[in-house]
Symmetry: C2
Subunit: 187 residues, 2 copies
């Protein structure tokens, strides 16, 4: 038996949503179609196989609601090992690679950190995110300085777009850290 884990950002999104409340595949699709989580796939060809993989891995458990109909509604809940796996995923340190290639997954992780891990881990996440982002901005600025004269106007502009994104990320992290520190209570 191959050991599978939370194997994609879609799976992470599913796990997080289910941790809030039990949901069927169809419920999940509706969330992905109608809310700001629309960047994740809403296609049944992605969601149902993902649910099956997670269930095979023992991270979620589906219970059939309307038993004797042809297409019974199957509502999924996190198992205890699923909750562990999710918490472990959210606790992972933020790497430079995450910051460069997996911002979407990072934001997804942060979305679920409040309820599942609490204030301390939120701050840890944000500080690591800020640190790695600022470090990468310095790398990009150096590259920009070195290449600004040989790049065309358009390449330079695209490059600057990249830097602007990371700067915006850093400002966001600073703002949220401040907000957390100001208000003692988070809800």
């Amino acid at each position: 038996m191959t050991i599978r884990n939370i194997d994609s950002t879609l799976s992470l999104a599913i796990m997080g949503l289910i941790s809030y409340q039990s949901m069927s595949g169809y419920d999940l699709r509706k969330v992905f179609i109608s809310t700001a989580m629309r960047q994740f796939s809403a296609s049944p060809g992605a969601i149902y196989p993902a649910l099956r993989r997670l269930e095979e891995a023992g991270l979620i458990k589906g219970e059939i609601e309307k038993k004797n109909t042809l297409r019974p509604r199957k509502v999924y809940t996190l198992t205890s090992s699923g909750l562990d796996a999710l918490k472990e995923n959210l606790s992972q340190p933020v790497s430079q690679d995450d910051v460069i290639w997996r911002t979407d997954a990072l934001m997804l992780r942060f979305t679920f950190i409040c309820e599942l891990l609490g204030k301390e881990k939120m701050l840890k996440f944000l500080e690591e995110f800020l640190g790695e982002t600022e470090a990468y901005i310095k790398v990009l600025e150096k590259e920009h300085e070195a290449l600004r004269k040989v790049m065309s106007f358009c390449s330079r502009s695209s490059f600057e777009h990249g830097i602007a994104v990371y700067r915006s990320n850093a400002r966001w992290a600073k703002r949220i850290i401040e907000e957390i520190q100001k208000q003692g209570e988070i809800k």
Copy 2:
């Protein structure tokens, strides 16, 4: 024979780079590893199949340099239909879906617009990009207003991160439009 086109952002990146100057697969890998284009795959398992697909589609042509060695260096050049396909790709209007899901491809397109299409198309691209981005920001702001009271602190913060990214994109587009309009000459 199935008609293939520029079938991924990696292929678009390859086409654009080759339009500047002829390159081998290994040259491309070096660019993807060592420059700010590192967000694209540098793995040989992605690059070489992509080159083959593009060659099969008649968009690029490989010429062997060191003929009688065992691993001859193969240098690729755009064909005339490849140049057409690239220009057509870059000329495509900017859709809302592009803005939401394919920012990376959009920035890649802009990178190559200068040399291949000129100032008029640059402005067209930027204005469409700005328009679609601002429209989507309004959608997100409405959602934010509607959900701000039911969302947890972390979901709300992640949501705001999303909005911040699009605002930063809009500011960038405005700045570049201004820069273009100020200087008569682009180089």
